[in-house]
Amino acid sequence: MVEDTIRALLTEAFPGAVELSVEDRTGTGDHFQVTVVSSAFDGVSLIDQHRRVNEVLARPLADGSIHELRIKTKGTT
């Protein structure tokens, strides 16, 4: 499932995340809300935080398995 793929990719990329969640927003398996709170984002601008998440999810974004992605990121400080 796409949701599991997204969770696996994010978990691998942000191993020490304080919070990491993937929500299927519409129940249709292609609209997702992801939330990542990690010290990896400390001191990183919001746009670069989102860029990192987009990079981690580049494959499912490019192949169309993610139709819509909402991102919420935060550092820990």
Partner: protein, 120 residues
Amino acid sequence: MKTLTEQISDVIRDEPVAVFMKGTPQMVMCGNSHRALQALHAAGAPITTVDVLPDPRIRQELSAISGWPTIPQVFVKGELVGGADITEELHASGELQQKLDSALGADRAQDVKVVALELA
């Protein structure tokens, strides 16, 4: 005729606030594009929109330029602000208005304009 990449770069460079979106402000075709427009409007931004739906190449060329994979994409004075989530978040914190104030002045116009790209 200018290439698609040139036309997109021109819009990003020349428009105070450029929004690449699905549809137009009159007929928004995507919830995220709607969210970005709402936040910009509430922050008192002038808005120039480009519809990416007429041709998939628009989105491809745009993402190649910006390095940002999703739609919408919001630019202020040539600089990528982000997509709908960031635009909403910056609006909620007041930073969007600050950014617009410093980039465009506090007494800016709030015109809404639609640019149609020429497709070969």
